[in-house]
């Protein structure tokens, strides 16, 4: 089983973008102005990169380097202010010699106007030279992220089940799948322990869940209304445990072969867990940083998010959502709940959609132009802004 992709040294891309990456949030405006002048260039905006402590700065560097490495990226332009804590040259080094990359420092360039002019030129060169043709590639070259958002009870009964089926198929074909959303493993610990490939992996994941729960509890309040969200509760989900048990289904049934830090690239094939929050901005960015070329996103009441760099395939098991939010939904699997389609048939439709999208078919969020302005990305940090 294969797809048509862009073969690069950092993997096989399913898209051909130029990523404009700010080393620090202070240069977001510069990044935005450059990207809006170059077709196919995407601004990877975020608010981090300075006045933070070591572990967070390492996370930011890891995430930005991962985005630069992502196989959907043909060329990279890093924008630095010049005085930030994150070292912009570390991001450059992540891809240097493997794909076109350039670095512009706004303070050195002589201000925003000159940096923007120089940036447009660099990005335009990369956009013109990145005109590669698609070639046949094996599904084993795919890294697929899975996510559920704006969940209701149909998520755990239909869409997550169908996504889980597709995950098993992709893993069995030698591909790689990454799931995460640490909060949404609270109450599903037994499932995680049962499926971890080693006791060490189980222990690492349990440690992440416990740390997330301790941080939530340290606020001294009931987590309900935050997790599950008000939308989840309206959709029939009563507790985080219920949400978690329905959510973990989307990771399929294969062994969990590794536990990744947020934005860390997997070191092999198979199913991986990534420590991360459930919120879309940070989670989708984390998946992109891990190297995901495609994301399977299951929704109940209707999450609308796409992600600029990575096509997001939106799946729902809620018929009402499939009709009302038709412009956002790529695959409707509500037929499973009506008894009109088997889980296997719906899951196979999802696998076919992954291959179609990997070969260039646009998902709904791409057709809508969702997030070409880069405002839907964000980096998850755990420490204070100083």
């Amino acid at each position: 089983m294969g797809f048509q992709g862009f073969v690069r040294e950092t993997g096989v891309g399913v898209r051909n973008h130029v990523a404009i990456i700010p080393a620090v949030g202070c240069v977001n405006e510069v990044v935005l102005r450059i990207a809006s002048n170059v077709r196919g260039a995407l601004p990877m905006l975020h608010h981090q990169g300075c006045a933070q402590l070591g572990p967070d700065l390492r996370t930011v560097t890891r995430v930005l380097s991962g985005i630069a490495r992502n196989a959907n990226v043909a060329g990279v332009l890093v924008i630095s202010l010049g005085c930030e804590s994150v070292r912009a040259e570390d991001i450059v080094k992540a891809v240097e010699g493997r794909k076109p990359v350039a670095l512009i420092r706004v303070q050195t360039a002589g201000g925003v106007t000159k940096a923007v002019a120089e940036g447009i030129e660099r990005a335009q060169e990369m956009a013109l030279s990145g005109d590669a043709a698609r070639e046949e590639a094996s599904i084993a070259k795919l890294v697929v992220g899975v996510k559920c958002g704006a969940s209701d009870t149909t998520s755990g009964l239909a869409s997550n089940v169908a996504v889980g089926y597709a995950v098993d198929r992709i893993v069995d074909e030698g591909g790689t799948v990454i799931f995460g959303e640490t909060t949404e493993l609270m109450g599903a610990e037994d499932v995680v322990v049962r499926r971890a490939a080693s006791p060490e992996i189980a222990k690492t994941i349990l440690r992440h869940i416990q740390a997330m729960e301790e941080r939530a509890k340290s606020m001294g309040v009931d987590m309900r209304g935050s997790q599950p969200t008000p939308g989840n509760i309206a959709g029939g989900l009563s507790t985080i445990e219920e949400k978690s048990l329905g959510a973990v289904v989307k990771s399929g049934t294969r062994p969990i072969v590794g536990a990744l830090e947020y934005g860390e690239a997997p070191d092999g094939k198979g199913l991986y867990f990534m420590d991360s929050p459930g919120r879309e901005l940070e989670f989708l960015t984390g998946l992109a940083a891990c190297g995901c070329q495609i994301i399977l996103f299951s929704t109940g009441v209707g999450a609308i998010q796409g992600f600029s760099l990575v096509p997001v395939i939106k799946v729902t098991g809620n018929r009402d959502t499939a009709c009302r939010l038709a412009e956002h939904i790529d695959v409707d699997v509500s037929s499973i709940l009506r008894g009109e389609e088997t889980l296997e048939a719906a899951g196979e439709r999802l696998v076919s959609e992954v291959i179609r999208v990997a070969s260039g078919a646009e998902v709904r969020s791409e057709k809508l132009g969702y997030d070409t302005r880069g405002v839907n990305s964000g980096i998850y940090v755990k420490g204070p802004v100083l």
Binding site: G187, E213, V221, L337
Partner: protein, 106 residues
């Protein structure tokens, strides 16, 4: 109507079922079991919205509420079979910073 499932039981151990359409109070509804979970019939005491849950057994206050074969929290009051089960009568035991440490530990 044939083939349309109105309510679903995910796991044989479950003490709650999920409505797959809006179900009116007083209805005797057939609950379809997934896999080896048995089919059931139960009379509803309250209207149940699409995607919401109702009790299949008498749930005592403090008892674990079971869905997917696992605990999804505990009953905060006694819940009779056929009653709506949601945030008004069950609660999470996780991430409860509002509870004393001994009480909140799961």
């Amino acid at each position: 109507m044939t083939g349309t499932k109105r309510a679903i039981l995910v796991h044989a151990k479950d003490t709650v079922a999920t409505a797959l359409e809006a179900l009116p109070a007083g209805d005797r509804v057939r609950v379809e079991g997934v896999g080896d979970a048995p089919d059931r019939e139960i009379e509803l005491l309250e209207p149940i919205a699409f995607g919401h849950k109702f009790a299949l057994a008498d749930l005592q206050a403090g008892a674990d509420v079971i869905k997917y074969g696992e605990s999804i929290g505990r009953a905060t009051q006694s819940i009779p079979p056929g009653a709506w089960v949601h945030v008004h009568n069950i609660e999470s035991t996780r991430g409860r910073g509002d509870l004393a440490p001994s009480e909140g530990a799961a």
